[in-house]
Symmetry: C2
Subunit: 104 residues, 2 copies
């Protein structure tokens, strides 16, 4: 599935970390929310409120979840889950194209 | 209107000019298309196929349409029209948050 249908899109972008991360919010009829975005090469720490699933559409990154010692690498077609009220470190090696699913 | 309703959103981002411009495509039931995106501070030249209206939601830029001698400045709440099969130079002074309306 290359697109989301029957959704609302917030016009204004979400810009984080001085522009290293740019996303747009996508709202679904059932009240759930996702974001579609990119992360430029960088090493960042993201905090979660709701649990998240990060789905990678392109690029490559290494991820370390809070409390984990090891980094795991992910690329196009892969995804990783992050618990709510937690955090993860992400080293983006090549421009990351992603969909973030909230509340999963 | 802060969002587009009943639309489709293409998951994969459009990344132009080495990441200086990032957008996502939004598809409407009537077959028209828009994109929501950002342009980082830079001076770029965009070519148009279809005519475009660039609606600025945030930031500030100076624009010179093809064939024009003068640059005009635009900020949040303003927009400018570009003919089809043409081009425009855009100097982004502050991170530009925009909606591009195609075929207008």
């Amino acid at each position: 599935m290359s697109q989301f249908d029957n959704v609302s899109v917030v016009k204004k972008a979400n810009v984080y970390f001085d522009g290293k991360c740019v996303s747009h919010s996508v709202l679904f009829a059932d009240g759930t929310k996702k974001s579609v975005g990119v992360i430029f090469p960088s090493t960042l720490t993201f905090n979660t409120g709701a649990p998240e699933i990060m789905e990678i559409n392109g690029g490559r990154c290494r991820v370390r979840l809070k409390g984990d010692a090891d980094w795991k690498e992910y690329g196009a077609g892969q995804s990783f889950a992050v618990p709510g009220n937690s955090s993860f470190d992400i080293e983006t090696l090549e421009l990351l194209d992603y969909v973030c699913h909230f509340g999963n």
